[in-house]
Structure formats: structure tokens, C-alpha cells
């Protein structure tokens, strides 16, 4: 039998194409590599995410589950090649509705949408959900995607961009949206230098094991250029986002501390390395005792992860004020409770990927990231290079949510390029990504809260044990943030909050939207419902009574201004009353599916906790009249490229569409820090405001114009209108040190202080606030929960872009819903997107976003951060609604059906 025919012919978007390829190869690979159709994204290679959705003879299929030989003679359509008018309409509609955030799922969504529109031009929401149900999105919460497809038939031309001075507050479609909807956005896996070698990692199959690498010379197959182990590392084989606690090796030495830890790299010809059976790699594993929970790893006698950290304790956190024990003793009412949360996987649709090459003496790494300068510093340290010999160009990030703050492929690519002298690329599989990336910290929290006879909070005591996994990562940040925030946005005069980050052989826990605060909010907000009941108060009124106000002092001793929680709760009152009425009415008729309503709040400090975290923005006008913004904040979908530019535009007084975006790129953009801690709109936005004002001031000085002058940039000239008209001819100006005719560069660092041993000080300069109501139905016999509606009120201080703000809220709610109801990462058991579940398009409730503007005295134009706030109230509001519906208290999340049913049975 010799039927192997390497030539496969099929039609792509109407044109006949022939490729020489293995017919058993995934179509997704052939489309991307052989036909350069890079809109076909690879998120899982298992049909779980739908990012590779293409049309085959007009039907949507996962290209990753199709063998190339199976499309012989058939018609394949990708985003770049699809016929008909459906794709252009959908693209326009996705932009107008803000339906693309990071953009990695967008091609798949558009293809599934196109298939639907061809058979139903004006589809219902239900039809859209059924048609798009096979494509996962982790950013948007799907609401705007549904709107975009439902309204694609009537999409209008995009509105003209706002005029000078009118950018802030405009419902402006994202400025970087074009490449996200046309499939040209270059994510980590999309750029491959010519002649690039493939890098693969050998990973530990054990939670904890020492190892011995065998005879590499004897093993190394032809086509493999190098095998790299820790012995090849010239710098310090220890990285970490908090340098004094750095402890993670790029490649493990002697022993691996978690399942999936990389111990060696194989670099070589892509087809050779890809085909290798890595289980044949010469390595002997000697398993060691391990524990993967905080309870077991934190107990005496547990296997120790790091010699210098006794009892597996990475760090402890503490905030104390007043006399908590005395106040609890004197309280009229006290409640006590414990909650358990699980490992949560970020599950961005883009697994970690990137490429690297040498440019002269400079190692260039283009990979997905949230923190280019931190990547540069830590990679340089591991490789033994100076900072100016490493250039980080962030690829478009297909989602991040915190896990792309840590190094992933960067040092591994660097090692491979230095070893081989060749360009290299590395693309993690979904399994690798889930094994090796960081997770949300599992937490065990116990709290006691007391109130006086009037229902005012008098004291709170809380302790949280957090599983920080094998290495430090952001464990210290969680240990610090939790005690600072665990009171919630409520006046708590006596307070003792402690935390401990416990090392285990579980995956490393790192940053995940909220840094432990979502876990703490579950403990506090569920107890608030019990305390409201004990005090005989309505649950919303109880929260309103205790809400922080301007001039109140936090448990850290900080006096707050611009506090918007009361406004958030007040604005929710009509919805609260309606929802309670509707639930009561429903429950008189239906005893099986019971409605419940819950509410919860959040506050969240923006920026690093009690540490400097400056951002610098550069604006420049070239001699030929171009206006550039050097924007080093990575836009991982949240919208920094748009929001920062909007702020700069109004501060300068020129229209937003005249700005040309430069960066991020560590060789081209000043440091804007990391995209985390809800800091970019506030901190980088403030730097943009200062920079815009500085450039404006320079222009006004040159023309002797007043503050109210109107600027225009036209024909290489700045026209200043201030009664009369003056002009600056940019071409006549000499270039300054930065290469511009005129430029400004300003830095902003939040005015914070360090915290003392009791956590007293000013941890953040700006906080954001919010509250959400969850309405849901619980099936009393099956324990299933269907969230019907979330009403979310968030105080943003000043809304820079309502379209993007809503997108953050909807996306945060989706992740909060996942945390509450379905997401549980079990190390070694759920390393894929069919055993680890995130919400699909059919799992989202109706969402009503209410944007509150209580200006912050410090934020740019009054603005506060939003990105993490939005998911904090969702899970506790859902748990409170489940209890309202059923009477049952679920103390472990996710509230999977069997846990809910067990809780219901427990109270019967």
C-alpha cells in the first residue's frame, strides 16, 4: 500500500491552492505555515476553544481537528479569504460594539458569525449563542460579541473621531482595533523569523522529583542543534517578579518542584524537533514526597520547598488597627465563617509564545507579555547580559489577566538563541501553558465580624492561608493586598487581618485579576449577609450604612477622598428592590427552581502596594508634522492604547486620531511599568496627562498664547488660535535630543508610603469602588445555578471611554462567574479546556453596567482604575444569591452542582 500523496489541492477563498504536506497534519498548521493564513489561531489543538474555526464548504469546523487530506477538493474559507459581505459587516460591527478586546478569539468568532449570517441575516440572540457556542472568549464576557452579531445587518459607518478636547468620555472604538478584526494582529506565535529554530521543553512529570540527565550526546538526533540544561545558564538561574525573593530557575537544577517544571530545552530544525517523542529524552526521575494544598504543605513535617523558608512560609502579611479582640467581645452581634477557594487558571485563549533573534549584539525577544521592562531585567539577569543588550518587543497578547506578568518563554528563547546563534521560536501547547503558567492562589479564609446594636461594624478579624505553589512569583503581593483590602469598602474601626503564603508542590500561584482580593471578598461579603440578618437589616441597607465615606480612615490609617461606594450602593437600590420583589413572586409559584438575589461590593487600590511604580509617557512632534505617543503600557485587550491616547489628546488639545502610537518596545518607549494592579489608566494615564500638558505649555509659550487657546496640527504646522492665530512651522525647528521638533516626557509615580509592621501607611494613592447585584435561579433538586442578571455599578472617577469600561465590567463578571460556579484547576487532572471549564457564550447573564463618576483628587481628570475591581463583587454576590434562594451556605468555590446540592441537603 503506497497511497501517500503529499500534494493536497483545495480551494481557499475561491482560489485553487496546492500544498505539499502530510495529509494527516492538522489543517490549522497547514493554513498557518504553508499558506500563511495567520488569522487561524491555535488555542488548544483539541476543539475546546474554537479559535481555529474556519469554514469548510460553508460549515464551521475546527481546523485543528481536521486532517489536511480531508479538505482535498473542498472549499476552505478563513478570515482573510472568506467571500460574501458577512465578514466586512461583522468586522465593522465588532469594532463599533467593542466586541474585540485582545483579539485572539475574534477570527474564530467572525467565522462562526459569518456562517450564521449566511443562513440567517437578522439572527436572534439565541441563534447567535448556538452558532458561536463553540468559540471561547476570556476577555469580553460575550455581551458585546452577541450585540455585534445581532446588529451586523444594520451596522453603520463608524462615527468620526472626536474633535480636539472631546476625546475623554467619548464612546470611542478602540484605536488599535483594525488588526484585531482583520486577522493581521501579530500574537506570540505569529511572527517567525526566517530560518527560525523550534524550541521545546522537557518538563517534569512529577510534582516533586530529583533528576539526572543521561547521555545527551548519544541521544541527540540529527537536526537537533542543541540541548540546553541549567548548566548552560551563564547568568543567575533565578528569576522572580519581586527581585529580593527571586527563586524560580529558568531550567530546574537537580530537582523539579512542580508538575510541568522545565528542566531542559531542545532546539533544532522545526520539523525534526516537532516530531520528537520527548518521553524518550534521557533523564532519570526520582520522585520525592510532595504536597499540593496549603493545608498539607503548611503543616509541620511537610516536605520543604526551599531551605531558607521554614515551614514552607514564603511571607506573612498583617494589618492591625484598634483593639479588635476587645471590640469583638463587646459587639452586639458577631458572625464567624470560613471559605475555601480553588486554583483558578487564567485560560487566556493564546498559550504563551514568542520568537527571538540577535540584532547585532542585542538579543531581541518578541513574545506575549504584560510587563516588557520586567521581562528585560529578569531575562538579562538569567542570561548574564546587560539590560541594553536585551530588547523586548511585546507581541500582541492574546489575553493575560496576570499570568503574562511572569516570565514564560522569554529566558528559554534567550538561552536557545545564545546557544545556537540562530533565530528561535517557542509555542507552548495548551497543556504546557496550563501546567507551567501561574494560577490564582487557592485560599482558606476564616473571619469574624462584629457589629453594634445599630448595625454598625465595630471590628473584623480575618486570617487567610494562601497556596502560593512552588515559587514566589506574586505570592508576597497577595499576602500584602489581602490584609489591606479584606475589610471591603466599609468603615471598620478595629481590624486585624493576617495572611500567610504557603509554598507547595502545586503550580506557582501568581497574579490573577485582583491579587487575592476576590478570595477575601468572598469571605467578608458572605459574612456580611449573616451579620445583616443578625442585625435585622436589609442586606443592601446594611452595606450602605457601613460604606466608607470621604474623610473616613481605612484599617491602614489612610484618610480617603473621592470615595464612591455609597453612590454605587445608592444607585443599585431600585434594582435591588425590583429583584427582591421578582424573586418573591417567582418563588411563590415555583418550588423547584428558586430565585435568589445577592449583593456584594468591592474596593481596590490602584497600582503597586506601598511601592514605587512610575510610568513615563513621551509625546513628540516630528519636523514633518507627525504627532507620536510613546506608550510603553502593554495593551492586553483592556484598551490602554486607546485610553492613554484619549487622555494625552485632551491634555494636549489635539484630536485623538492624529496620534501615531509607538510601542511598546523597550528600545522605543519609556517604562510604563506592568499592565497589572489596575494601574495603567490611572498611573500611565496621569503621565500622559502631564506629558500632554507639558507639550501644550511649550506650544503656548512659543506663541505667547493663553491657556484657553485652541490648537490644530495641519500641514506640518501647529496652528494656535487665541484671539489671533499664530503658527509654529515644525520643519523649521531643530531636532531635540529625542529626535523631535517638539517633545515632552513626563513621569508620574503615585504618592504612597511604605507600610509599618501593623500595615499602617498609605498603600495606594487612588482606589476604585463598585457593587454588583446577582439574580439567579437554583434548581433545588439538581443543585445547578443559572445566573439571570447582574447589575453592576462601578465608580470610575472619570469615565475615559464608556465603551471600553463596559467591556471591562462584562469581562470581569464572566471571570467572577467562572470563579463562583465552575472553575477549579486540579493540578495534574484538568490540564485542558474540556476538564477545566470557563464560561461559554451561553453561560452569561444579562448585564447592566452603571458607571459612576465620583472624581478622585489624584487620578488623571479624576479617573480611577477599573480592570480588577469588576470581578471582585461577582462571586460573593452569586454566593449570597444562592443562599438567598436556597437557605444553603456554600463554603467552597466553585459552587459546582454537587456542592450546592450537598449544602441544600445539609440544612434539611
Amino acid at each position: 500500500m503506497n497511497k501517500h500523496s503529499p500534494m493536497i489541492s483545495f480551494t481557499v477563498g475561491g482560489a485553487s491552492r496546492s500544498v505539499t504536506a502530510d495529509p494527516a497534519r492538522r489543517l490549522s498548521e497547514v493554513l498557518r505555515d504553508d499558506l500563511n493564513l495567520k488569522s487561524v489561531k491555535i488555542g488548544c489543538d483539541a476543539g475546546d476553544c474554537g479559535a481555529c474555526t474556519v469554514l469548510v464548504d460553508g460549515e464551521q469546523q475546527c481546523a485543528c481537528l481536521t486532517m489536511a487530506g480531508q479538505v482535498a477538493g473542498r472549499q476552505v474559507e478563513t478570515l482573510e479569504t472568506a467571500g460574501g459581505n458577512e465578514i466586512p459587516r461583522l468586522q465593522q460591527s465588532f469594532l463599533a460594539h467593542g466586541a474585540a478586546q485582545c483579539g485572539i478569539c475574534t477570527p474564530g468568532m467572525l467565522m462562526a458569525g459569518a456562517e450564521l449570517l449566511r443562513r440567517s441575516a437578522n439572527p436572534s440572540v439565541a441563534e447567535v449563542e448556538d452558532a458561536l457556542g463553540g468559540v471561547l472568549c476570556r476577555c469580553t464576557g460575550y455581551a458585546k460579541i452577541i450585540d455585534a452579531v445581532v446588529n451586523a445587518h444594520s451596522v453603520k459607518e463608524l462615527e468620526a473621531p472626536p474633535e480636539a478636547g472631546a476625546s475623554v468620555g467619548a464612546r470611542l472604538p478602540r484605536l488599535d482595533g483594525g488588526p484585531k478584526v482583520d486577522g493581521t494582529e501579530s500574537f506570540g506565535a505569529d511572527h517567525r523569523p526566517a530560518g527560525s529554530l523550534l524550541v521545546r521543553a522537557i518538563r517534569s512529570p512529577h510534582f516533586h522529583a530529583s533528576f539526572k540527565i543521561g547521555d545527551l550526546e548519544a541521544w541527540t538526533p540529527k537536526g537537533v542543534s542543541g540541548v540546553i540544561t541549567a548548566a548552560d545558564i551563564k547568568g543567575e538561574n533565578s528569576f522572580g517578579v519581586i527581585p529580593p525573593l527571586a527563586d524560580q530557575p529558568a531550567l530546574a537544577e537537580n530537582a523539579a518542584r512542580f508538575l510541568g517544571e522545565a528542566v531542559a530545552l531542545i532546539v533544532g530544525e522545526p520539523e525534526v524537533v516537532e516530531a520528537l517523542d520527548l518521553t524518550a529524552f534521557p533523564i532519570t526521575w526520582m520522585p520525592l514526597p510532595h504536597e499540593i494544598t496549603q493545608a498539607a504543605a503548611g503543616a509541620p513535617g511537610a516536605p520543604q520547598l526551599h531551605d531558607h523558608r521554614p515551614d514552607n512560609t514564603l511571607i506573612r502579611g498583617r494589618v492591625a488597627s484598634g483593639d479588635t479582640d476587645a471590640a469583638l467581645g463587646a459587639a452586639a452581634h458577631t458572625v464567624t465563617g470560613s471559605v475555601e477557594t480553588s486554583y483558578v487558571e487564567h485560560a487566556y485563549i493564546e498559550p504563551e509564545a514568542g520568537a527571538a533573534w540577535m540584532d547585532g549584539d542585542v538579543l531581541v525577544i518578541q513574545a506575549c507579555t504584560q510587563a516588557p521592562v520586567m521581562d528585560r531585567d529578569d531575562t538579562a539577569k538569567v542570561l548574564g547580559l546587560s539590560h541594553d543588550c536585551v530588547r523586548i518587543i511585546p507581541a500582541a497578547a492574546g489575553g493575560g489577566f496576570g499570568a503574562k506578568l511572569d516570565l514564560s518563554v522569554q529566558p528559554l528563547l534567550g538561552l536557545a538563541v545564545l546557544k545556537t546563534g540562530q533565530p528561535c521560536h517557542m509555542v507552548w501547547s495548551r497543556t504546557e501553558s496550563m501546567l507551567a503558567s501561574t494560577k490564582r492562589h487557592p485560599g482558606s479564609l476564616t473571619a469574624t465580624i462584629g457589629a453594634d446594636v445599630d448595625g454598625r461594624i465595630t471590628a473584623m478579624k480575618v486570617h487567610g492561608e494562601f497556596n502560593t505553589g512552588a515559587y514566589s512569583s506574586w505570592g508576597p503581593t497577595v499576602a500584602t493586598r489581602v490584609p489591606v483590602h479584606a475589610s471591603g469598602p466599609y468603615l471598620t474601626p478595629n481590624y486585624l487581618a493576617t495572611s500567610r503564603a504557603v509554598h507547595s508542590n502545586g503550580p506557582t500561584s501568581g497574579a490573577f485579576r485582583g491579587f487575592g482580593v476576590p478570595q477575601a471578598a468572598i469571605a467578608q461579603e458572605t459574612l456580611y449577609d449573616e451579620l445583616a440578618k443578625a442585625c435585622g437589616k436589609d442586606r443592601l441597607e446594611f452595606r450602605r450604612l457601613n460604606a466608607l465615606n470621604d474623610g473616613d480612615t481605612t484599617p491602614c490609617g489612610q484618610v480617603l477622598q473621592g470615595v464612591g461606594i455609597a453612590e454605587c450602593l445608592d444607585t443599585l437600590r431600585p434594582d435591588w428592590e425590583r429583584a427582591l420583589r421578582e424573586a418573591t413572586l417567582h418563588n411563590t409559584a415555583d418550588k423547584v427552581k428558586r430565585r435568589g438575589v445577592g449583593v456584594a461590593s468591592c474596593w481596590y487600590g490602584c497600582g503597586n502596594t506601598a511601592l514605587p511604580n512610575p510610568s513615563t509617557i513621551r509625546l513628540g512632534l516630528t519636523t514633518d508634522g507627525a504627532l507620536r505617543i510613546h506608550q510603553g503600557a502593554t495593551d492586553i485587550g483592556q484598551g490602554a492604547n486607546t485610553v492613554i491616547t484619549q487622555i494625552a489628546a485632551d491634555a494636549l488639545g489635539l484630536p485623538v486620531d492624529q496620534f501615531e502610537l509607538i510601542g511598546p518596545d523597550t528600545f522605543l518607549t519609556p517604562d510604563c511599568g506592568k499592565t497589572s494592579a489596575s494601574r495603567q489608566t490611572y498611573i500611565t494615564g496621569k503621565a500622559a496627562e502631564l506629558s500632554g500638558k507639558a507639550l501644550r505649555a511649550a506650544i503656548l509659550r512659543m506663541t505667547n498664547a493663553g491657556d484657553d487657546a485652541r490648537l490644530a496640527l495641519t500641514g506640518g504646522k501647529i496652528v494656535v488660535e487665541d484671539g489671533g492665530i499664530s503658527e509654529i512651522d515644525l520643519s523649521a525647528l531643530p531636532q531635540d535630543d529625542l529626535g523631535y521638533a517638539l517633545s515632552a516626557e513626563e513621569t508620574y509615580d503615585p504618592p504612597t508610603t511604605t507600610l509599618d509592621e501593623n500595615g499602617q501607611g498609605t498603600p495606594y494613592a487612588v482606589y476604585g469602588y463598585g457593587a454588583q447585584i446577582a439574580e439567579l435561579e437554583v434548581d433545588m433538586k439538581l443543585g445547578t445555578t443559572k445566573v439571570i442578571r447582574i447589575t453592576a455599578a462601578h465608580d470610575l472617577g472619570k469615565v475615559i471611554n464608556p465603551l471600553l469600561a463596559e467591556g471591562q465590567i462584562e469581562g470581569g463578571i464572566a471571570q467572577g462567574l467562572g470563579l463562583a460556579l465552575m472553575e477549579e484547576f486540579l493540578p495534574g487532572r484538568t490540564n485542558n479546556l474540556h476538564d477545566y471549564l470557563i464560561p461559554t457564550i451561553g453561560d452569561m447573564p444579562a448585564i447592566k453596567s452603571i458607571l459612576i463618576e465620583k472624581p478622585d483628587p489624584e487620578g488623571p481628570m479624576g479617573a480611577k482604575g477599573l480592570g480588577e475591581h469588576v470581578l471582585i463583587p461577582t462571586a460573593p454576590a452569586i454566593l449570597n444569591a444562592i443562599r438567598h434562594a436556597t437557605g444553603a451556605k456554600v463554603t467552597k468555590v466553585p459552587a459546582l452542582p454537587h456542592r450546592v446540592l450537598a449544602a441544600i441537603k445539609a440544612i434539611r
Partner: protein
């Protein structure tokens, strides 16, 4: 790279190739390619999707014949008697539309996942599989074909060429319910299928099946018996009757105890659907 790849356009060539040596029998690949991290399907591949005769649904005097290469989308779109409503509902629950457009009925059965959506409704249809090889054609009741989790009575030289449903089992109406932790793309915690024939106000035939609650999906003979001869009354299905027929495990999706109680509740709801439909019709 696959060592060999063979995509014949007729069954005889496929069976001849199988007779010569071990081949990976591939169709929709929604399980095969999902089960490997490799970029190509490993092994020597026999791609059955070129054989158009394996795809489609036809009726003869005594049976409905669903070709092994029939996709779930084909089944959803087919004009079939009400007894197949449960199978159609199950088809809509197989993965996503992308999966339904590729995945085949033979693949679903040969993959033999305890959570295969197609199996419970096919059990209520007394489905028989047709297994072909150069040695001949044999038939096996579905319940005897799937012998355990990921275990089937398929010889290395055989192809599952069709699923046969005897006309005698196509009476009445049917329904299917799936319980999972999310709406789309979900592996079920439990699922139930039922086919009921009501004559003169009493149940004359009852076929009930449960999936995801044991190593293989199973019929519920005791529960079926209690329904026969009386007006359809879902409350006759007690937790105990259902529990006795199941042997679930704890896994990442749910614990065993929950599966047992929820399966019983799902069976009752599946039956309640017929009562409600009848009320609406009346």
C-alpha cells in the same frame, strides 16, 4: 508525520487495507486529534471520510440505517420519526457546532467515552451496530459493542459501517436531557434518554437509559418495568430504582453520590417532558 495515509473512496479498499495491517481508523477526528498533542495524527491512518457510501440515513422495511460516517449535523437535519427526537437532542449537545459538523456517529461509539452523548438515546432505540470486514459483516447490539470505558468489541480489521435501528423500536416519542456545569462544549455529569410508547392512555413500551454514571451508558430495565401498563407517571421512578442500575465514580465534574441522585431526577424530568407535551397537545 503520519507514516502512511490512505483515503479510499470505497469500503472494499478500506477493508482490504485493514486486512493487511493495523491502521488508525479515522473519520471526523474530533476525538483522535483531540487526544494527541502532535501536529499530525500519529500512526498509519485509514481516513474513512472519502467513502461517501458510509454517510447518510436510509430506511428499509425493517430498519433505519444510519451510516457510520453520518455526522451529528446530518442527524440534526434529517427528517426522522419522533422516536429519534432524543438522538437529535443529543446530537445538538455533542461538543459545539464545529464538532457536530465533523464528528460521526461511528466515531462517537468507537471512542466509547462513558460520557458519549450519542449512546443513551441509541440504547433506547435498541440500536445495533454493523461491523464489516473482508471476512464478512456481523451485527452486534450496541450494549454488547461497548464493553467498557474506551473498550469496544471491534476487531482490528473491522469498520463500524452503520448503526441499525429496528423499526420495532421506532415507535412513540423520545427525549434527552444532559446535565453539565456549563451550556456549550461540556462533558456531561449525567444524561438521560427515554423513548415511550403510550397506547390507550397507558405506557406500552418504555426504554430508559443513563450515561456518564458508570463505565458504560446503561438501560434501566427495572425502571422501565414500573412504567409499563400504567398511565405515564414520572414519580414511579424512585431514586432507589435508578441508583441500583448505576455505578458512577467521583471525578472532576461531580461526585458519585450526586450522579446517582441527579440521574434519577433527570429520568423523572425526561419523562415529565412527555406528560407536559401531552398536556400542551391536549
Amino acid at each position: 508525520m503520519a507514516n502512511r495515509y490512505f483515503r479510499p473512496d470505497n469500503l472494499n479498499d478500506a477493508l482490504a487495507a485493514l486486512a493487511e495491517g493495523d491502521l488508525v481508523r479515522a473519520a471526523g477526528c474530533t476525538d483522535l486529534l483531540a487526544a494527541t498533542e502532535r501536529k499530525s495524527l500519529p500512526g498509519d491512518v485509514l481516513d474513512l471520510t472519502g467513502i461517501t457510501a458510509l454517510r447518510g440515513i436510509s430506511q428499509t422495511d425493517n430498519q433505519m440505517r444510519i451510516g457510520g460516517g453520518t455526522t451529528w449535523t446530518d442527524i440534526i437535519r434529517a427528517d426522522l420519526p419522533a422516536a429519534f427526537d432524543g438522538l437529535k437532542l443529543a446530537a445538538r449537545e455533542v461538543g459545539s457546532v464545529q464538532i457536530q459538523n465533523r464528528g460521526t456517529i461511528a466515531g462517537n461509539l468507537c471512542n466509547a467515552s462513558p460520557a458519549a452523548d450519542g449512546v443513551p438515546p441509541l440504547l433506547t432505540l435498541d440500536a445495533v451496530v454493523e461491523l464489516s470486514s473482508l471476512r464478512g459483516v456481523r451485527q452486534l447490539p450496541l450494549a454488547e459493542f461497548i464493553t467498557g470505558p474506551r473498550q469496544i468489541a471491534l476487531e482490528p480489521d473491522e469498520v463500524l459501517t452503520a448503526v441499525l435501528v429496528p423499526v420495532a423500536a421506532t415507535g412513540g416519542s423520545s427525549h434527552f436531557l444532559k446535565l453539565g456545569a456549563r451550556k456549550y462544549l461540556v462533558i456531561s455529569i449525567a444524561m438521560t434518554a427515554a423513548r415511550i410508547v403510550v397506547e390507550d392512555g397507558v405506557v406500552s413500551e418504555a426504554a430508559l437509559a443513563v450515561g456518564s454514571c458508570g463505565p458504560v451508558a446503561t438501560r434501566l430495565p427495572e425502571a422501565e418495568t414500573v412504567l409499563i401498563g400504567a398511565p405515564l407517571d414520572p414519580t414511579r421512578i424512585t431514586d432507589a430504582i435508578v441508583k441500583g442500575a448505576l455505578s458512577p465514580i467521583d471525578d472532576v465534574r461531580a461526585d458519585a453520590e450526586y450522579r446517582q441522585t441527579s440521574a434519577a431526577e433527570l429520568v423523572r424530568r425526561t419523562l415529565a417532558h412527555f406528560v407536559e407535551s401531552a398536556e400542551v397537545a391536549a
